[in-house]
Every structure is written in structure tokens, then in C-alpha cells.
Symmetry: C2
Subunit: 340 residues, 2 copies
């Protein structure tokens, strides 16, 4: 049984949403997470849900990294924060995975500084599941590394492929390199070099993919640096927000469209769900010695329960060991990490 | 009166759409473009529209750069192509601007190699008008330069500001730097350096903006390198396509939603128009000795007529001179262009 350290203080609505999520994970998935946080506040929430406090192991943490705190300073100053304490449980082998909807910068920093990189990994990468025409597309890096080398992009491709094989049930995931054109000489220096390395990397590399192909559904793993990936992802969120907002304005301008919108409610909800799916899914931080999964700050109890289930699946699939085994032996590992 | 060289052979449906566009520009805007292309084919199209061929000046070009040709090779081999001949009209002072919906790579190359950079400009940039909540947002570079320096990004900010002042009627355009977070130390090395330079640049710099703010309507000019900008722009197009496609699937799954969609037709068309607007607008290539405007390959006659009108407005506004005057005197000009 996977042991999961769950940051009970992380997220906009913590600890209410987190404790409710832990309870839901126990009831729906039989999954008993280790609750890390301010004990009295956790107990209050458990009681409010009529759950006996000895149903869960609670590991006490004295402070909380706020959502808008500068990550590096927060980690230095708050050694007893729920994020650091939960990361230490993983480091010390008392937990296999860490799930948190807290400050994502602090979580990435704690992943590297407390848990540590898996053997063979140059840099961990943050992955995101996006809705696509036929099942989700996995994109990485979406924000862990703003300056990348070509070797790092190759490692992201390997880690993304393993993730989609093991957790996405895709047999031989196709990998595309996000770029400005299909031809191999397209892109900036970094991407031209990465293209060449990917061709020799052993992943199922299908070539460059442009921005409009991310959601088209033909690529399982989209590889990019964390700067480009983060901007592309947020630009996509912006379009969805813009479209729903403008459509609402259009609907409110006439009675006929209002009636039409009511009749179309099912179709709209279906589309909303596809976009929410991405927001609800936890983002795995890949390439550490233990599995870290980062939830959206706005995650509700159900999203967090799903996040805990994903963590369990990742541990059961042996994701961390599989990635380390693959990356120890890839050529990319021959080069040294380049420090910024 | 602005003299505009119009590539009659450029675009998926040329010369039918281009000649029809030129005729529409003459009728709607009183704008008599110089038609550049294979004379016999242009004359055939004019006759099909019942227009006398002496209504237009036709400049003969013997060949056509196809949409999928490699730009550099095409320019070398097709010195008599409509793109090169039209660019030479601008170079020789016989035209003030060039409008084409042809091969955009070849147009950018012809802009630099034939027309040449305006004094003070390190690299020209391609701009795009995007639909936003309150009037369009101008984003640049969206694809002319895949490797940029911080000084180039500052010049893009200056050129974008002048464009929105002169053609967007925005008095003091706000400029945002596309980035992964608001804080000044966010981003990769290039963007951290650009942020510092922009603060001292004299443009109305409001700081970093994230991807979801591009369409939010609070920023007039969004500055980025051409690699990031191109990927973000196409990712945004991909979301719009995905959303319309998924919604159509949802609508077709029930009679009620079909009826609803009919009632909502006006609202949908309004939203479609906002997205089409971006596709219909010509993209200005800024920073050359003459104004070049690049239309989408799928542009129809009306989009091309609008493109010709935009070219006229750009010439009337003295855009080229204004940019050159501003950039000759900005500090960014102190550094030398860095060749890839």
C-alpha cells in the first residue's frame, strides 16, 4: 500500500478542502493519506466531518508557506512548514509520495532540495495533462525550468513517455517537440539541437509539433522548456476564459440566445468539464527520488481525492524507479547539468 | 496617395482572391494598388470581374514562390517572383508598401534582403492583432525571429507602441512583457534582462504579463521573442478550434442542443467573428525601410481589401519614418546585431 504524505495546509481552501479530500479518498479509494499540518486545525476539520481523528495518521507541522510567498525564502525560514515536513517524510522513506495544492514554487524547490533528484536526472520537470480530441495529451515542462538544455528536453521526453505508458495506458506514446514549424531546422538553437538528439533518443519521436497541434489529439507527449510551456499553457487557459466570457455576453444580449443557452446546457457543461479536467488534475513533478504531485490552488475536495488516487497509482506503477532506470542509461546523462 | 505594391500571386486562392481584393479596395476605399504578378493571369481575373485592365497598373513578374517552398532557396532561385519584384518596387521608391498573402518566410526574407532594415533597427518583427475584451491587443514578435536578444525585445516594444499609437488610436499604449510570472526576476535569462531594459526604455511598460492576460484586454502591446510568440499564438488558435469542434459534437448529440444552437446562432457568430478578425487582419512586419504587411494564406477578397486599406493607413501615418526616428535614438541601438 502506497504511503502518501498529504499537505493538509496547501491550497486556497485548506484545511477544509484538503481534509474533506482525504476523507473522500479514504471512502472512495480506500486510501489512507498521512495528513501533514497544524494538528489542531486538522482535528477540527475531521470532527466537522464526523470522522474520528485516529482514522488518519497526523504528522504535525508548525507553519504554512502561503500561496504568494517567495519560494526560496519561505523554505529557508519555514523549516517546520507542512511542505517541508511532508517532503522530509518522503526523503526519510516514511512516505512514497507527496501531494499538495500549496505554493507550487515552494513545492518544486522542496522537491529538489529536500527529496532530491533521482539518479540520472539532470532536472525534474512539471507535467500537465491537457484535454485533447482522443484522450489527454501530456505536456512537459510546464514551469519547473525556465532555462533548459537540449539534453534536459530529451530527458523530459523519456519521463513523459514513461508517465503516459504507466499511468496513461498508452503502449508506445508518440512524442512531439513543440516548435514553430514541422521541418527539423525550425526553431531556435535549443530546439534545433533538441530535435537532433530526440531522433537518436529511443523515444517514439514523431518530430516537431506546432502550437495548434497540442490539443489536436495526435501526440501523446509534447516536450518543451518550462518557459515556453508555461506561457503556452496559460495562453490556452486565457482563450478558454475569453471564449466563455464573450459567449456569455452574446447570450445575455437576446432572449432567443438565452433560451438557446438553456437548451445547450449539456453541451456547454461537457466542454467545461473537458477544460476543468486539466485544472482538476494534479501536475506530477517528475524526476525526483519520490513522487511529488502538485494540485491547483483552487482544487476542491474531489480534485484532491483524485490527486491522492493518482499518487497511489504512480507509486504502484513504480514510476520513480522506472524513470531513474531509464535515465541512468540514456546518452543524455553523459553530459553534466548546466547550472544557471 | 500611398502607392501599394500588391502581390497578386500570393495566397491559397490567388490570383482570383487577390484581384477581387484589389477591385474591392478600389471601390470601397478608392485605393488603386499596383498589381504584381503574371500579367496574363491577372488580366483574365480582371476581365472575369468586368474590370478594364487599364484601371490598374500591372507590374509583370515571371514566377511565383509557392506557399510551401523553403524561403531562402526560393528567393535565390526566383529573382523574378512576384514577392521579389514587389519588394524591389518598394526598394526603388516606386511603392511605399508591400501587401502579400504569400509565403510568409519568403516575405520576411525579402523584407530584410531586398527592402532592408530601417536605420536604427536591429531586427524587424512580425506583429499580430488579437481579439481582446476591449479592442485588440498587439503582440510581437509572432514569428520573424526565433533567437532574440534583450535589446531586440526593447525595440519590439518601441515599434509595437508606435503601431498602436498611430494605427490603433491608443494614446499611451501599455506594454507588457510576456513571462511566466509577474515578479521582475521571473523568466529565463533573456526575459529577466529584457525586463530591466524595458523599465528604462521610455515605453509605458507595466511589467510582466502571463499567458492568460494576452486576451484579457488590459495590455495594448505584448512583447515576446518570435519563438515563444509563435507557439503561444498557435496554441491559442488550437484552443479555439478544439472548443468549436467539441461543442459541435456536443450539440449534435441531442435534439435539444441542436435547437439551442440554432437559437444561439447570433452569439456564436459574434464569437467566431472575434476569432476570425485575428485571422483576417494582415500582420505588419515592422522595422523595414518600407511597410510590409503579410496576410494569411487563406485570406479572401475582403480580408485582402482590408489589408490594402491598413497598408494605406500605415503609409499615411508615416509609420516607417516614425519608427526609424525613435529607434535611432534609443539606447538599445548602441548594441550590435548578433548574427545567428
Amino acid at each position: 500500500m502506497a504511503r502518501i504524505a498529504f499537505d493538509a495546509m496547501g491550497g486556497d481552501d485548506a484545511p477544509a478542502a484538503t481534509v474533506a479530500g482525504a476523507v473522500e479518498a479514504l471512502r472512495s479509494h480506500g486510501l489512507r493519506a498521512i495528513l501533514v499540518g497544524v494538528e489542531s486545525r486538522i482535528v477540527t476539520q475531521l470532527r466537522a466531518l464526523d470522522v474520528r481523528e485516529d482514522e488518519f495518521e497526523i504528522v504535525s507541522a508548525g507553519s504554512v508557506v502561503e500561496m504568494d510567498e517567495a519560494p526560496a525564502a519561505a523554505l529557508r525560514q519555514k523549516r517546520d512548514s507542512s511542505i517541508v515536513v511532508a517532503a522530509e517524510l518522503v526523503k526519510n522513506g516514511r512516505a512514497d509520495a507527496l501531494v499538495s495544492a500549496g505554493n507550487s514554487g515552494a513545492l518544486m524547490a522542496a522537491g529538489v532540495l529536500v527529496i532530491g533528484r533521482a539518479e540520472g536526472v539532470i532536472r525534474p520537470a512539471l507535467g500537465g495533462l491537457l484535454p485533447a480530441a482522443n484522450g489527454p495529451t501530456f505536456m512537459l515542462d510546464i514551469g519547473a525550468n525556465t532555462d533548459c538544455t537540449a539534453n534536459e528536453l530529451v530527458q523530459f521526453a523519456v519521463m513523459g513517455s514513461i508517465y503516459m505508458q504507466r499511468l496513461g495506458a498508452v503502449k508506445d506514446p508518440t512524442v512531439g517537440l513543440l516548435n514553430v514549424g514541422e521541418e527539423s531546422m525550425k526553431g531556435n538553437r535549443l530546439y534545433r539541437e533538441a530535435h537532433e538528439l530526440l531522433r537518436q533518443s529511443g523515444v517514439n519521436f514523431v518530430g516537431n509539433v506546432e502550437g495548434m497541434e497540442i490539443l489536436a489529439g495526435s501526440i501523446d507527449v509534447v516536450v518543451c522548456d518550462g518557459f515556453t510551456g508555461n506561457i503556452a499553457l496559460k495562453a490556452m487557459e486565457g482563450v478558454a476564459d475569453f471564449a466563455f466570457r464573450e459567449l456569455r455576453k452574446g447570450v445575455e444580449s437576446s432572449l432567443a440566445s438565452k433560451a438557446g443557452a438553456l437548451l445547450m446546457r449539456g453541451a456547454f457543461q461537457g466542454l467545461r468539464r473537458k477544460f476543468d479536467y486539466a485544472e482538476r488534475a494534479v501536475a506530477p513533478l517528475l524526476g525526483l527520488k519520490g513522487q511529488v504531485l502538485i494540485g491547483h490552488g483552487r482544487s476542491d475536495a474531489r480534485a484532491l481525492a483524485n490527486g491522492l488516487a493518482t499518487a497511489q497509482a504512480a507509486v504502484d506503477a513504480g514510476l520513480v524507479e522506472k524513470m531513474s532506470n531509464s535515465l541512468r542509461t540514456t546518452p543524455a546523462n553523459a553530459s553534466q547539468p548546466k547550472e544557471a
